[in-house]
Symmetry: C2
Subunit: 238 residues, 2 copies
């Protein structure tokens, strides 16, 4: 999985534009098709990523390119016409999961609502994104640990983005403590982690077939995080 280049190295073509190239040189053909950016090509590529996301969600890390191919009803080798490596497949899945969330979060942070309303909006945005981007989001969360241990440039970027997201949420909580709309008797760091935990843990239990609709899940989580579960004074001991 991490091994850079195996097998006999692909023969070097002196001139890449020459027509009839000996050998299959799948890497070159992929690169070419990729650069070209044909609609059908990209669509098929997308389809592969989508199916792979499902397979990875089901089988986790034991999932094999053979499994993906099987799920696609095609051959392992064919995949390599669209994707350079298993790792690249993972990366595409994660990229798709990640891209939309940051934008939404920044937007919310910059808005003029009250802080609790911002948090409510944030929870809603995250939960809905979770449901929409299923199974990409699940793969992303389940893989976070492994990604954090890598040191490829891509991994570093993903972790940095994740970190930024967390920082953004912490900054909203701080804002609330300062303007007096949030309690300031509890640690911000732990609170932020509690919030992320509530939401990210969805990767363990949320499936599209889950009876409670995403909007209601979001509502419940927001109610608990902001309003608490206890009735009356039982909840808050100073």
């Amino acid at each position: 999985m991490t091994q850079p280049r195996r097998g006999r190295p692909p023969r070097q073509r002196a001139d890449a534009t020459l027509a009839t190239v000996a050998g299959s040189g799948i890497e070159a053909r992929r690169r070419a098709a990729m650069e070209e950016g044909g609609v059908a090509y990209l669509a098929r590529r997308q389809e592969i990523i989508q199916v792979a996301a499902n397979v990875f969600r089901e089988r986790g890390h034991e999932a094999t390119l053979r499994d993906v191919a099987e799920s696609l009803g095609t051959e392992r080798a064919s995949i390599y016409y669209y994707i350079g490596s298993k790792e690249e497949l993972l990366q595409e899945i994660v990229r798709e999961a990640l891209e939309r969330d940051m934008i939404a979060a920044r937007h919310i942070k910059g808005s003029t609502q009250s802080t609790p309303a911002k948090i409510r909006a944030l929870i809603e945005s995250m939960v809905l994104s979770y449901a929409e981007n299923y199974p990409h989001m699940n793969v992303y969360v389940e893989d976070l640990g492994r990604i954090a241990r890598q040191d490829s440039q891509w991994a570093v970027e993903v972790i940095e983005e994740t970190r930024q997201y967390e920082a953004l949420v912490r900054s909203i909580l701080l804002e609330g403590q300062e303007d007096g709309t949030l309690r300031s008797d509890v640690a911000i760091g732990v609170s932020a982690m509690a919030l992320f935990g509530m939401i990210n843990w969805m990767y363990r239990w949320y499936r599209p077939s889950y009876p409670t609709p995403p909007a209601e899940i979001a509502h419940t989580l927001a109610e608990i995080f902001l309003g608490g579960y206890a009735l009356g004074p039982a909840g808050s001991a100073p």
Copy 2:
């Protein structure tokens, strides 16, 4: 990792009690030492499990028995004198993480405190166990997904136990809704998952070096779950 038995199968001894056995037959020697249950032997075994837990927490699933051996300052083969397989190592780690929690939870459920107090106690118990059983607990949580996909008897048991734990928590929440100490306008299933999420997500951020002490982490989580984060009426819309 899942492959049952590889390499040349160990020679069968006609009589296992015969003294001078040809070959090392490490499996037999392990079994014998295990049955004997010598103190030093078990202690060394424990040490291996402990070190392995640390390695697995750090490197996750990519961790190799070579890594464990290295961390132990010994040779890969030596480990097999104490443990039959990598999987067995994982299982021991998880077993240790799991055993104590259920007892505590049952105890709490059966106690006479108010429901919110029970929840508070439960959170405390889980968080403290998390901190104490580090890194076993982390390995357990990070591995839950993989375990759930297995079908060995052991895996089934672990998942069943986890399920029971969740059911127990749900039953406490229900109790609270019925006796009027908890809100009943939010779904119990999602609430329970929110609670587990807050706590289990610790595997992503909690380290023994974390500045906030475990008792305070527990307090914060309990405050949020029971009392909510918002001040005033902002939190609860209908």
